[in-house]
């Protein structure tokens, strides 16, 4: 539909392209004029751009409230080759607008937060010039995410998909000269990009399969033909959905390809909050939700998605228990929660999945930003405690073993962090409880195995969040830095408060009674399983959550560990198992030995032996062959007239023999 047609549908819909162009505008302003605006100016422009996008999203939501089917707005014909006809068009429907709201909403809050955070982070890393570059990348990310979410066909979705992968590469490697021996951050960024690329490989193959089975890449046409093609070529849909699952595992850090997310914590904390908790990683969930019609055709694929999600949820939760870095714990917790969402969407409970996605965006962003404020405080404390010597001793501001007793030093951060943690753990009134409960209810009805896995994961979630709370905020400060830790400025804590409110009241979005979100999403999803409230499941989940917190208190609360060196109380009872948790089940090492090192040796072998040795060998060999041949013939040119005469006579004899024998 062209601009004016859609305007007739609803005046607000024609604003849709602004969702992408506003962040791009912000990005260009900062890029070109940034130097003169100063830090506050840059922050303002960036936040305004994202805020503008949020406003447009709200307007679209209002528009959708009236015209609930939404519409598609075609901007330009991107590629038209033979029967490949792809347009750059915006799809305005309840699902995409929901994602826009979450992305731009949480995004704006994080933009405001990062003005304060980056102000000190940039000073800490002695490169004030980088402030501008951070906000350029952040706006680029919002723009690409909007392209992904608002696209009307799989190709534009793929453009956004890899675009956000690029932004996560740029932002993880923001401090590219920091990290393990100077190259750690850059390597983490490269790891993230390459692992994402492996996922994108799967999505690319799915795209090709889609094109050749459906003749188009457009959502509406594909979902319309889905039943027909499923009947005609069931294998095709199975292949498409499974390859798409490979893409999802890459982007949403599910089991086989999750390894990049923990390393992505190398990026500044607002990045972890925005990209690696709230928005980018949920792209996979959005993809499965969007192509739900395809998944319904192939139950086997749905099961695959469900099991991948459930297994990841439990697996990541176990690792989170053994981590010391405050952000690593949250990273594994994100992977685990994403496991919940993927399992939900896999079960067909798309609404529950999207609901958990939304609430998770709130409290996980809150937790990350809280962790950021804790890190700022501890760095601040460290600077004061060791004002004297300036040496960079091996102090790691993110290591929980350095912290302790921060609730007195940083009361506001503590309260907000507590709310976030309880919401994540799934304690009753908070948002986390409702969304997780809905997933557990759906799991309970769909397959007991998955339900057990998810409940175990929920228990472990409560446990490691309790552990983190106790280690960071309770007990005695374990290092000079944590003694002197100071509360972060208002600019940092304000967004925290807003997010805390959202975490508390987020549950209202889809309360068992009102099912607001469900009615909202009905318009764009094929068929949504009605989320019914099962009391028993709810009670069990609250019980599990409280049990987890209690156990954490028993282990970490009663006799808090004092000195820095003291081993983690869990080490003795679990020893071998705990060692495995600490080392992340050695998955990174496994991948390194099985994939990375063999590929490097193949590369060296093919560069050395095959290329230089064989091929060049043959080529140079021919060259030297000719030379040695020439050397051999030179001997005949020995200067003696008579030997030449001999050769001539030999020639004569040969000619005559030829004549005679002819």
């Amino acid at each position: 539909m062209s601009l004016n047609e859609i305007a007739s549908l609803h005046p607000f819909f024609q604003l849709a392209p602004l969702v992408v162009f506003l962040p791009v505008l912000g990005l260009l302003i900062n890029l070109l004029v940034g130097k003169r605006l100063g830090e506050k100016g840059i922050g303002a422009v960036a936040s305004l751009a994202t805020g503008g996008a949020f406003a447009v999203a709200v307007l679209l939501a209002v528009g959708l409230a009236q015209v609930s089917e939404g519409g598609t707005l075609t901007l330009a014909n991107w590629i038209n080759l033979g029967d490949l006809d792809v347009n750059w068009s915006f799809r305005i429907d309840t699902l995409s607008v929901l994602m826009m709201l979450v992305v731009s909403g949480v995004g704006t809050l994080i933009h405001i937060y990062s003005i304060g955070y980056m102000h000190s982070d940039v000073r800490h890393n002695e490169d004030p010039g980088r402030f501008r570059r951070f906000f350029v990348y952040l706006n680029l990310f919002i723009a690409f995410m909007m392209v992904l979410v608002s696209s009307d066909n799989f190709l534009m979705l793929f453009v956004g998909w890899e675009g956000v992968g690029l932004c996560s590469y740029l932002l993880i490697g923001f401090w590219f000269e920091k990290g393990a021996d100077g190259i750690g951050n850059a390597r983490a960024a490269k790891k993230a990009f390459v692992v994402n690329r492996i996922g994108d490989f799967g999505l690319l193959i799915a795209l090709f399969l889609l094109f050749y089975n459906f003749g188009t890449l457009n959502f509406t046409e594909i979902f319309a033909q889905a039943p027909a093609v499923a009947a005609a070529a069931p294998g095709a849909i199975m292949a498409i959905t499974l390859f798409m699952l490979l893409g999802v595992t890459g982007k949403s850090a599910q089991l086989p390809l999750y390894v990049w997310l923990p390393d992505a914590m190398a990026g500044p904390t607002p990045v972890s909050a925005l990209i690696h908790a709230a928005t980018m990683v949920t792209a996979g969930v959005y993809l499965v939700a969007r192509s739900q019609a395809l998944y319904f055709e192939v139950p086997a694929a749905q099961n695959a998605v469900m099991w991948v999600g459930a297994l990841t949820a439990l697996f990541a939760a176990t690792i989170a228990v053994g981590q010391y870095d405050i952000k690593k714990v949250l990273a594994y917790s994100t992977i685990s929660q994403l496991g919940f969402m993927v399992a939900a969407v896999g079960m067909g409970a798309t609404v529950a999945g999207m609901f958990h996605l939304t609430t998770h965006a709130f409290f996980k962003a809150l937790l990350f930003l809280g962790a950021g404020s804790v890190i700022l405080g501890v760095e601040h404390g460290h600077a004061h405690a060791h004002a004297g010597e300036h040496g960079h001793d091996s102090f790691d501001p993110q290591d929980m073993r350095e912290m302790g007793g921060l609730r007195k030093r940083m009361p506001l951060t503590f309260i907000v962090y507590l709310i976030g943690a309880l919401a994540l753990a799934g304690i009753a009134p908070l948002a986390g409880f409702f969304s997780k409960d809905e997933i557990l209810a759906a799991a309970n009805e769909k397959s007991i195995g998955v339900y057990v896995l998810l409940t175990a994961a929920a228990f472990l979630t409560a446990f490691y969040m309790g552990r983190q709370l106790l280690m960071v905020f309770f007990g005695k400060p374990r290092s000079g830095a944590s003694e002197k830790a100071a509360e972060s400025p208002l600019l940092v804590t304000l967004p925290l408060v807003i997010l805390a409110l959202l975490s508390v009241f987020g549950g209202a979005l889809n309360l068992p009674g009102s099912h607001l979100l469900e009615t909202w999403l009905e318009h764009s999803l094929a068929e949504t399983a009605p989320g019914q409230f099962v009391l028993t499941v709810a009670l069990i989940s609250i019980g599990i959550a409280l049990l987890g917190l209690l156990l954490a208190w028993l282990v970490y609360g009663r006799k808090p560990i004092f000195e820095k060196g003291q081993p983690d109380p869990l080490r003795r009872p679990l020893n071998g198992l705990f060692k495995a948790l600490e080392n992340k089940w050695w998955v990174d090492e496994f991948y390194h030995t099985v994939i990375v090192r063999p590929y490097q040796s193949i590369a060296k072998f093919s560069a050395g032996a095959v290329d230089q040795g064989v091929i060049d060998g043959v080529v140079n060999g021919m060259g030297s062959l000719v030379q040695s041949g020439a050397k051999a013939w030179r001997r005949y040119q020995n200067g003696y007239v008579r030997s030449y005469a001999l050769t001539i006579v030999f020639g004569v004899v040969l000619v005559i023999t030829y004549l005679v024998l002819r």
Binding site: I79, L84, R197, I602, A607, V619
Partner: protein
């Protein structure tokens, strides 16, 4: 608005005017020589735009044809036959665009014998444009061989340490292939009595019997030039030893002559053989993609790495060509242009780094982005474009090629595209490794701290390429409109043979 001279004739031979003027300048007048060369190549670019203006995108057949009887041996008619269509218009524009950029990049790079350098460079431009416009087999062969000579001297005289070895290797490789091609051309000539491309299309059945051998003869010459997997070892040596400008033109245009040759001669003239050999050529192309990517990872010298990446990228082009679907062939024609832009820019930046530190070893750099922010940013964009990131030109080409190859009836199975798509991952690996080794991480070497960022001239050389990289990435349709009709015509020509064959 015709200056009385045929546009194609003008665009091909105008650089000779520059050569003439330069010959009269004294060797000491370096500045004058450089400006004359630049001016001539810019005017040639202007003329090529004028040719583009006269080119109607809609029609599939040859346009602006110029056919003048040239040689008449008894029974054999060799014409001076130029023409342009969808396949060659972009190549001519690319040549006309890259030459002034390459000349501009030699301002501070080439100091000795500037006169000789510029003369050879402009002669090279004549040869290249001629190759893309020639439609008479003999004329094509003449231009094909003619490009060898200036390139040989460019590498041989202004090259690095092992330049003689590299120049000779480059020359022999291409020469060996093209001799076979000459043989094939003669065979065709004698059997049909004409060398003109359009006439040969009608008389295809005359030499249809020897089609397999003719295909292989032409194919070998083009495979060496592309370069395809086993015949590629001349490329890294040629690139490492060539001066920056030489590398830009070598990667940007000379490699495309091979790929273009497949499209112009192998496919239309020997359709049955093409259909029969397509799977084997596709397999070779895929090996090239994966092998090139793997070997690039193990390289220590930046130019060698980019050279092997060219092997990998052109693997995609050849794969697209032999998949014989509209998407894949259009994609490969566009990918030829894309590769010229992104690899040309890569070589320019590597050349700028070489001018500053006089070494191409990646270990000599590290954390340079902190010291050279602008160069780092431009390098990042160019690396992403050659990696095939959506939104930039590389992706459009690669996606259409892979999409076309996936469902191509000639190759038969989707596995070809499946394995080739792995190349996309490997490309990301070695390019990011290069970017990391050179630009990221801490500044290890003291000398890197004193490096100066890009000056205005260097930025001007890169800007046109970047504009095109973004333009093709964001809105490729105008380029596809140019290519599409001719490609559809070519594919239908070949597929008619496919139907006949099955």
């Amino acid at each position: 608005m015709n200056f009385g001279i045929h546009p194609l004739l003008l665009v091909t031979f105008f650089p000779l005017v520059g050569v003439l003027v330069i010959l009269f300048l004294k060797t000491q007048q370096k500045k004058a020589i450089r400006w004359t060369a630049l001016a001539t190549s810019l005017v040639t670019f202007g003329i090529s735009l004028w040719v583009l203006a006269q080119f109607q995108p809609g029609t599939a057949g040859m346009q602006l044809e110029l056919r003048v009887p040239w040689l008449r041996l008894d029974g054999l008619a060799i014409d001076f036959y130029l023409g342009v269509d969808g396949l060659s218009i972009l190549m001519v524009l690319l040549t006309a665009l890259l030459t002034p950029i390459a000349i501009l990049s030699t301002w501070s790079a080439v100091e000795d014998r500037v006169k000789g350098f510029m003369v050879f460079f402009l002669l090279l431009e004549v040869g290249m444009t001629g190759v893309f416009l020639a439609l008479d087999l003999v004329l094509f062969y003449v231009f094909w061989e003619f490009t060898l000579i200036p390139m040989y001297f460019l590498i041989g005289i202004w090259g690095g340490e092992r330049r003689i070895y590299a120049a000779v290797k480059f020359f022999l490789f291409t020469m060996a292939g093209s001799l076979l091609m000459l043989l094939a051309i003669l065979v065709i000539g004698f059997q049909t009595g004409t060398f003109a491309w359009s006439d040969l299309l009608e008389k295809r059945e005359l030499f249809a019997a020897a089609q397999t051998w003719l295909f292989l003869a032409f194919g070998l010459a083009f495979a060496i030039k592309v370069p395809m997997f086993p015949l590629h070892t001349w490329l890294p040596d040629a690139h490492v030893e060539a001066p920056t400008a030489g590398s830009v033109i070598l990667a940007g245009v000379l490699l495309k002559m091979g790929a273009y040759g497949f499209l112009r001669f192998n496919l239309p003239l020997f359709p049955d053989a093409t259909v029969r050999f397509a799977p084997y050529m596709a397999i070779l192309a895929i090996i090239g993609i994966l092998y090139g990517a793997a070997v690039s990872l193990a390289q220590k010298d930046m130019k060698k790495l980019v050279a092997y990446s060219s092997v990998s990228h052109l693997g995609f082009v050849v794969l697209g060509t032999f998949a014989l679907t509209t998407q894949s062939v259009s994609g490969s024609v566009l990918q030829m242009v894309n590769h010229g832009l992104s690899t040309g820019a890569l070589f320019l930046i590597v050349g700028m780094l070489y001018e500053r530190r006089h070494t191409r070893e990646m270990s000599a750099f590290g954390g340079v982005w902190k010291v050279l922010p602008i160069m780092g940013a431009l390098m990042l964009v160019v690396t992403l474009s050659s990696m095939g990131l959506p939104g930039l030109n590389g992706f459009v080409g690669e996606f259409t090629i892979l999409l076309g190859t996936f469902g191509s009836k000639v190759l038969g199975s989707p596995w070809f595209a499946g394995v080739a798509t792995l190349g996309v991952i490997l490309a990301a690996v070695y390019l990011l490794v290069m970017f990391e080794k050179v630009f990221l991480g801490p500044v290890k070497v003291e000398a890197n701290l004193a490096l100066k960022d890009l000056n205005v001239r260097e930025i001007i050389t890169l800007v046109p390429l970047l504009i095109l990289i973004f333009w093709i990435g964001l809105y490729p349709q105008p380029f596809f409109n140019l290519i599409n009709p001719s490609v559809e015509n070519l594919v239908s020509m070949v597929s008619s043979a496919l139907l006949a064959a099955h």
